[in-house]
């Protein structure tokens, strides 16, 4: 569904991605693990159109991706950015409006009803400024906001960052649920064990290159992955 071929991205003289290729099948969860600075967020931002690749190609449903971020959202790819990035001074409801920006007013109303059904907590707080929500609630809002535009692909950038362990589990359950509803998920995550346990396929990025790829369940057993990303030993 989403194909990345030989993608190079650089910021000035620093090369962030060096020939990354990746295949994201429909209705699956693809996770990308790697250390800080490996190029994970850059990859997501390149897909979202926020950074321009130096070379390489990204195709979506067989066609090249449009050039601008707003066109990419319209095409059906939306990002849940790192740190949630809800608009703090806007109300919960207005944040959802922003998520549905590419839709008509009528569609926004309909989608909002669906999102509120999925997250009754957000409905309770619809009029509250998003900045006053707890971290977990903000993450729900960020996910609800992404669901507003009825995307085909959702890109998650570190969804577990800064959340309490119980909330992290909820977030991963939600991601699994999103996949079951037919949406394709690309998941960038520091919490490699959680990410691999929910994903179908996985890629390991190091210094802007894919060093390992395969089925997530296999990577979970891979000694190299275990040593580098899973803390060296299996948890009991």
């Amino acid at each position: 569904m989403l194909d990345i071929k030989e993608l190079y991205v650089s910021y000035g003289r620093i090369t962030a991605l060096q020939g990354v290729s990746m295949h994201v099948p429909r209705s699956s969860i693809v996770c990308i693990i790697g250390n800080n600075g490996a190029g994970k967020s850059t990859l997501l931002n390149a897909i979202s159109g926020m950074v321009k690749p130096k070379s390489g190609e990204i195709t979506f449903e067989g066609r090249p991706l449009p050039a601008h971020p707003h066109q990419i959202v319209k095409a059906g790819i939306v990002q849940v950015p790192e740190g949630r990035q809800v608009f703090p001074i806007l109300s919960v409801d207005e944040n959802l409006t922003m998520g549905g920006y590419v839709l008509s007013y009528r569609e926004i109303r309909e989608r909002k009803a669906r999102v509120y059904e999925l997250f009754p907590r957000l409905k309770e707080r619809a009029g509250q400024a998003a900045g006053t929500l707890s971290g977990g609630e903000q993450q729900m809002l960020a996910i609800g906001r992404a669901l507003m535009s009825s995307p085909k692909v959702i890109l998650f950038d570190e969804p577990s960052l800064g959340l309490a362990p119980m909330v992290v589990s909820q977030v991963f359950e939600l991601i699994a649920k999103i996949k079951e509803s037919g949406v394709t998920v690309v998941l960038v995550e520091q919490n490699a064990r959680k990410a691999l346990s929910v994903a179908d396929t996985a890629y390991v990025l190091e210094n802007g290159k894919v060093v390992l790829e395969g089925r997530a369940s296999e990577l979970l057993e891979n000694p190299m992955v275990e040593a580098a990303y899973l803390g060296g030993r299996k948890s009991a």
Binding site: S48, M50, H68, P69, H70, V73, K74, V78, Q79, P81, Q85, F87, P88, I89, L90, E94, N95, T97, M98, G99, Y101, V102, Y105, I108, A129, G131, T132, R145, S149
Partner: protein, 290 residues
């Protein structure tokens, strides 16, 4: 007498509020103090004047033309001066310097075309007064107050209930995230300038009609800036509060220390605010609301 002064100050403050809100809108989204807002005021006031003279227009069409001219002028200024900077990723200070350059440039273009003289709009408002409960309010001040309040109410409705309005407020939090949500940043910024320009056009033509028209009329933008600082830069509700406060203070300063010293006194108040309360009046008012 004091109540009368209060009402006059309130009316003048309402026009300053238009300036301050227009100024604040651009500040919120692009984070720089846009002094070219003043030239938008000036140009639209002159355009309103030209139309009023040529077609013998009454106040409503004159002010409407001035308002729309302001919107168009601001969009053009953004397109010509600020967009190229933005595309090249210029620092905030470049935007600031550019805005002052545009103010001076456009002001002097007005001088070239109209000369450095004063113009008076044809008489549009009868110089009568309405007496309510012993306080007589001039029709002129009532018109200024009415126009400003209506414009501010419409703006606040638009910012709250339309997609573009919400997007502009979202962009003031994080313009990149706004982009990630599917909003076209160029369009959001154009709209920001358009709406700010409408406010500039309205305030420019109202000031021109009420007083006189001269190329430096745009320098009244400084009042909007002071009001924004007093109210808390980046906060529209604060800007309105700051502007009304400034209008009232000015009227009282003029009555007590005279018109000559009034600008110095208002600047002193701004400096005082920067020292003692840089977050402005809104620092508390708005947080209470949130």
């Amino acid at each position: 007498m004091i109540i009368q002064q209060l009402v006059n100050g309130f009316s003048v403050g309402a026009v300053y509020a238009l300036i301050a809100v227009g100024f604040g809108l651009v500040f919120n989204v692009l984070k720089f103090s846009n002094f070219s807002h003043g030239s938008t005021m000036g140009i639209s006031a002159y355009i309103a004047y030209l139309f009023a003279m040529k077609f013998h227009l009454s106040i409503v069409p004159t002010v409407s033309i001035g308002t729309i001219a302001g919107g168009i002028c601001a969009v053009l200024v953004e397109l010509i001066a600020f967009r190229p900077l933005r595309k090249r990723g210029g620092q905030i200070v470049y935007f600031f310097v550019t805005s002052i350059t545009m103010l001076m440039l456009l002001e002097n273009i007005l001088v070239i075309f109209f000369g450095d003289t004063f113009y008076a709009f044809p008489k549009m408002i009868a110089s009568t007064a309405i007496t309510v409960a012993g306080v007589s309010i001039s029709t002129l001040y009532l018109v200024m107050l009415g126009c400003s309040v209506c414009a501010l109410a419409l703006l606040s409705y638009w910012l709250k209930y339309t997609k573009m309005g919400v997007a502009i407020r979202a962009a003031s939090c994080a313009i990149n995230t706004c982009n990630l949500m599917g909003a076209n940043v160029d369009a959001v910024i154009s709209w920001t300038f358009f709406v700010a320009g409408l406010m500039a056009g309205l305030s420019g033509s109202l000031l021109g009609i009420s007083y006189t028209l001269y190329p430096q009329i745009g320098q009244i933008v400084v009042k909007g800036f002071i009001a924004s600082v007093v109210g808390g830069l980046g906060n529209l509700t604060g800007a309105v509060v700051g502007a009304i406060l400034l209008g009232i203070l000015e009227v009282f300063f003029i009555a007590t220390i005279g018109a000559g010293l009034t600008p110095a006194a208002t600047f002193a108040i701004m400096v005082l605010f920067l020292f003692l309360r840089p977050q402005g009046v809104a620092g508390t008012i708005v947080r209470d609301k949130a």
